[in-house]
Each structure stands twice: as C-alpha cells, then as structure tokens.
Amino acid sequence: MNISVPNYRHVDEMRPWSDREHRLACVAVTPESPDVMTFTFRPDRSGLWFRYLPGQFVTLELPVGPEPVLRTYTLSSSPSRPYTVAVTVKAQAGSIGTRWMFDHLKPGMVLTAIGPLGDFSYVRHPGRKYLFISAGSGITPMMSMTRDLGDRSPDSDIAFVHCARTPDDIIFRAELEAKAREMENLSLGFVVRQAARGQLWSGLKGRIDKAKIALLAPDFLDRTVFCCGPEPFMATVRESLASAGFEMKNYHEETFQPVKPEPPVVVADPSGEAAPTKVTFAMSGKEGACEPGHTLLQAARAAGVRIGAACESGLCGTCKVMKLSGEVEMNHNGGILDDEIDEGYVLACCSRPKGDVEIEA
C-alpha cells in the first residue's frame, strides 16, 4: 500500500468508492470501551470517497482461515466525513470474525468489503424530530446518523437514548456529550443496568421500559423512532410505544444479535418468517445453512466449499454451478445464457435459495 501522502483533492474531484473495484485499507484501530474497538478504513487507492447513507451496513470478508467468513457491521462513521469509514464492534464470547479483527486487523491491512447497503437511515425515513434508542453496540447506526445530522443540520432535534451494562460500557460517551454542547436540540439519556460501587452515576438505572422512555423523551409520540439492539430490548421498546398509542409506521428497527456468531445480512423479508435454508453441496459431500437473504456463494464459503467467483455481481459467470434440486431466486446481470438456465445452471453469487437447495459444487 502506497497511499500515505495523498494529494489534496476536493471531494468533487474524486470518485466514489465501489465494492466491485476497490477494497478497504485499515488505517486506525481505536479502543472505545473494554470490549469494543473501532476499525477505520480508507480506500485501497487514493482519489476515492465513500458514498453511503448514515445507518447503512457493510459486509466484511474476514480471512479467519483457509476460507474467509463474511460478517456484517453497521458503519459508525458519518458520510459527511467521506474520506474514511469505520465500524465499531464488540467482541462477544465465541465470536470468530470479530475476534479475528481484534487479534489481527492492523493498520495497513486490506479487506474485501461488500456494500454499503441497508434502509435503516433517517434519510430513508425522515421525520421532524427523532428518537434514537439503542442498546449495546446497537449504538453504531445511531452514532452514524447523529454525526451526520450534527454536520449537516446541527439544529436537528434528537432524543438520544442509550442502554448499557455499566457506565464504562457506554460507547462514544465523551463524543456524545461534546456533541450535545454543539447541538442545541440533542438530548442525551443513558440507562445503565448497574454502576460499580462508588462510581458516580446520576442517570437512570435498570432496564428500558415505557416510563423511562417517557422520562427521557417526553414527546416521543411526535418523534420518528430508530431502534437497534438485542431482540428482547427492541421488543420492549416496540410494546412500550404501541401501548402508548404510538403511530408504528414511524418506528424503524435494525436487527442486532450480539451473541449470534454469524449475524445475517439484513434483507427485506415482508413475511418476517425467514429462516436459514439447507444447502447441499453434492460434489464436496457437505451441507451448510444459508441465512435468509444470503447467496449460494456466501453459503458455500460459510460451509468451506470453494466456488470460483470473480465479479460477484452476476456478470462474469465464473461462479456458474449446476443446481440439482430446489428453487432459487436469481438476479443476474447477463452472466448466464437462457439455455444454461434451462439446463439447470445458476450463478452462485446472485442466487438466493427459496428453500432447501442442492448444487453440484
């Protein structure tokens, strides 16, 4: 990597980063709280800027072993500062990908990334006033949106509510307190489960509930709500809001599963009933699970089955495989002939199982 002294260029003289062409080079590793690190990246070439919406996520390909794993993280950085992106991640017990990042990811290393993607953004669901309510590392999309609003329109009205285990576990606390001085209409409300003996804590304690929401954001009924955290946390927030007569079309949430080793890519699933499907790899004699919204290629990689791929966008056709049974939804970009589809071939990079699938790989 030889981009240490970039020429100064204005953003309008630069090109947007693209996951098809460019990779991410790690430039900083920053401790945030006892188990949380921020990893900051810039493009692996100079002259590029990042175009994304605050609240979106990226999928990182992490070289944990012979087969890389894919892990999805919301960006904590703000697109108003477009020269770098950052993810802020918490190391959970039993984690593979995040543990690898903690142990091995250092400035100078280059990763493949997919994205940014996602609809969890005030840009997609704008409101007059916001309630950002999060728990644990569910704070990252909220931070991205708050930083962005702070730069773009510092008078934005945000009630920022965050729940953490202890005061020490509040990620970005100092930065948020500084922001609250700059942003007249940003109010901070922290809720901790417990404080250490002798530790000064003047905020609320316990778990989130309707009373605490009403206390920290009295006008919550007028606000557009973004919620991110563990499912039980979000369920409590949902029920609290609904029982208070909140208009739920103004409620948006992002799945956040801290203990699950493989967080799935968040995809539109109107039924809300998506469950992993089984993928059988006939030639390798292996079986794997395909998370909802994942492609056959992702499932193959997760199962340690090698399928050659290049563009990963349904164009080059390198990942063509014979589908032996099952149904997939394939959105290719012209990388496969109709005749080949008729013969039963699919492109693994852009085929998503609609049920259990068996492929010749």
Partner: protein, 414 residues
C-alpha cells in the same frame, strides 16, 4: 538483395504456365511474406452462420499468428474479435467452440460483452477506463450463410463479392442449415500446393475413384475456360436458371472469386457412391427442382465449396507453416434432417473423406518432391490445368502489386 525485392523479381520473371520456384513452397520467409501480403489483408472464409445459431455461441480459429473468435451477439449480429485479452494477452476463448453469456478470460476473469466491450475487470484502480480496453474487432461479413473475416486495418470492399455470390447462395438457405459433420486434416504441404491440387481434375481419374463416380473430370467443369461451349453444361445452366437458380459461370475481374453451377455426371444428384441423394430431406425448400448438380464457389485464399440439392460441403484452408496446411471440411444438411433417419453419416461423408485423404497424400508427395534440390518449375497442361494457371496468376498478381504498393489490378486470365 532483400526478401521483398527477391520475391518480386522472381514473380515478375516467372515463366508463365509453369509452377513456382522452390522457395515459394518451402521457405519460411516466403511463407511469412505470403501471410503478411495475402492472408492478413484479404477476406477469409472462417465458418458458417449456422455454427453460431444463438446469442453467445462462438467458435475460434487461428489465422497465422492471429487467434480470432467469431461470436453471435444478443442483437443477432455475428462479430469477430481478436481473441487476445486486453489485460495480458491470454486467449479469451480457449475452446474450439462453445456458448457463453459473456466472453470471460480464464486468466483473471476480465469479462467482455458479446459486442466486445469490457464490462468487468477486478480492482484495476480509479484511473482505469474500461472503455479503452474492449476486445479488438476483426472485420466480419456474413453472406448467404458464409462468414468472412479480414484482419487488415482497412478491409477490401466486400460489396462486389456479396453482389456476385449472394444470388447463387441464397436459394440454398445455408444460414439456417445444420452441421452434420466437420473434419480438419493437416496436409504437410504449402497452402499453394493445396490450392493447385484443388484447381484441376487432371489428377482425378488416377486418384479419386469415389469422387469420379459422380464428379465430371472435364476441365470445363473444374477450370475457368470453355464451360459455356460445353453443351451439357449450357443445358444444365438453362434448366437451373429457368428454375430460378443463378448458375452461369461468373468470375470477379481480379480472379479472386467465382461461382458456377455444374452438373454431375449422368443422373447423379449427390456425392455418394450410388449418385443418389445422401439426405432424404432437401437442403432447401427454395430449390424447387432435382438434379441441380453442384454450386461451386471459390474464394482465394481460403475456400472452395460444393453446394448440392441434398447437402453442402465447405472447405476452409488455413496455413500453419510453410509446409503445413489445415483443411477443414464441413458437411451441412437441412436443419430438420435427423441423423440415422434422414441420412446415414457414413454415406454422407464417405466420398469426400476418401477424396480429402487422397488429396492429402498427393499434396504431401508433391511437397516431398519439391523439396528436392533437383526440383525446377514444370509446365502446366493447357488443356487440363487452366484452373491452376489462373490460381498462380492470381497469387502472382496480388503479391506483385502489393509488394509494389499498388492495389490488385485486373487479372489477365479472366
């Protein structure tokens, strides 16, 4: 004296009606000059439309130093490209033929659309402009089911050839035919020996017992002179033209290509031992009569052809070296004809499989003899070898004029 001058002098001073001097048949430098002067500048028959029936179908060919790929696009057009990746030069299509939604270089998966444009190249940096790195095009024309390519930067005008041969080819509907069989043989002889052997039937009686059952040995049928004075041929033309089939002998003024419809002997309808059709289903519904003989199409330097009522046979000549030539023979039948039902493959291919092999042996023995230090150019038969003389005349004229930097002029023989 440099090679150009030496070749030029030899051609200008050659003895008319005699074969060429030894180096024209064996010398690698002369061969290279042939390639540069003729092969890389003229239109070359490369294959048939029906070999790429659908979008994404392609076939490849090696023309001297140039690997080429012919592909049918999504718009139905047939195009030809230099088959060398714009990344590091790897051949993009490495199979003889196939079907692919995109042309993908196997080395680093640079991906080209069927129109040759580069649509994907991984991680090439922000200054990389894909539009500058499409596959280089090769001139490509399709006429009557025949695909021709030209490697030159500026191709000779294709229109005169199209105008001359399209009416003859059209009734046979070869663009929608089916390849029943294809064979490629390597003849260990210079490409001009392959042509010289083809251009006369002086040798047929002694060498081609199968072919001679149906094909006339008369020089009027094979050669370039006297056809109109042959009452048998004149009657054939009259009958065919009355049925709407252009038939009379026509040759381009440069002598490079010609067409004519020639009768087979007696009641023969096809190149079979019995003379009976090899294929039950006629090649084309647009040919309304039987006994149409064989439509002969010649185009120097790559192709001679026989188009019959029941099938068609094309021949493609591609030089490999000064002393090796690949000859590809393709048997075409009606697209709906079913092997084993409408035709028996052995019956269909027997005569020309034997004839090709006999010709290969002749060419190779001829090449052996020419390698002798004792070889000197010999006289052609005026009665039987007018076709050979015309070929050598064409070759000599094209070479001389191009080596002198002029356009090819009219041939004196026509």
């Amino acid at each position: 004296m440099d090679l150009h001058s030496s070749v030029l002098r030899q051609l200008k001073n050659r003895r008319e009606g005699f074969s060429l001097a030894q180096p024209f048949y064996i010398d690698p430098d002369y061969f290279k000059l042939d390639m540069e002067t003729i092969w890389y500048r003229d239109w070359l028959f490369i294959g048939h439309d029906c070999e790429v029936p659908r979008a994404g179908n392609y076939f490849t060919a090696q023309i001297g130093d140039y690997p080429v790929v012919v592909v049918r696009g999504k718009d139905g057009a047939i195009r030809a490209f230099h088959n060398t990746c714009r990344h590091r030069g790897h051949r993009v299509c490495t199979s003889d033929r196939g079907a692919s939604a995109k042309l993908v270089c196997p080395y680093h998966q640079w991906t080209y659309d069927l129109d040759g444009s580069l649509v994907f190249a991984r991680q090439m940096g922000e200054t990389f402009d894909k539009s500058e790195f499409g596959l280089k095009t090769v001139h490509c024309e399709s006429v009557g089911g025949y695909v021709f390519v030209c490697l030159a930067d500026e191709a000779p005008d294709f229109a005169p050839m199209r105008a001359a041969i399209e009416p003859y080819l059209k009734p046979h509907r070869l663009w929608e035919a089916k390849v029943a069989h294809r064979s490629t043989i390597i003849e260990k002889g210079n490409w001009k020996l392959v042509w010289e052997n083809n251009r006369e039937c002086y040798h047929c009686a002694g060498n081609h017992p199968e072919l001679c059952r149906t094909y006339p040995e008369a020089p009027t049928a094979t050669g370039v002179q006297g056809a109109k004075d042959d009452p048998f041929i004149a009657e054939h033309w009259a009958r065919c033209e009355a049925a709407g089939l252009p038939s009379e002998f026509r040759m381009d003024p440069t002598g490079q290509f010609r067409v004519a419809r020639m009768p087979l002997i007696q009641e023969a309808e096809s190149y079979t031992l019995s003379g009976k059709p090899a294929v039950r289903r006629p090649l084309s519904a647009d040919v309304p009569v039987s006994h149409v003989g064989t439509m002969l199409l010649f185009h120097y330097p790559t192709t001679w052809n026989h188009i019959l009522g029941d099938h068609a046979i094309s021949f493609r000549v591609l030089p490999l070296s000064a002393e090796e030539t690949a000859v590809t023979t393709t048997w075409l039948v009606n697209k709906d004809a079913v092997e084993g039902v409408d035709y028996d493959l052995d019956t269909l291919t027997h005569v020309w499989t034997m004839t090709n092999d006999q010709d290969r042996a002749i060419v190779e023995e001829n090449a052996f003899g020419i390698r002798s230090p004792a070889y000197e150019p010999g006289p052609y038969s005026l009665d039987h070898e007018g076709g050979v003389m015309q070929f050598v005349e064409w070759y000599s004229n094209f070479m001389v004029d191009r080596l002198q930097g002029r356009e090819a002029p009219l041939s004196a023989v026509a």
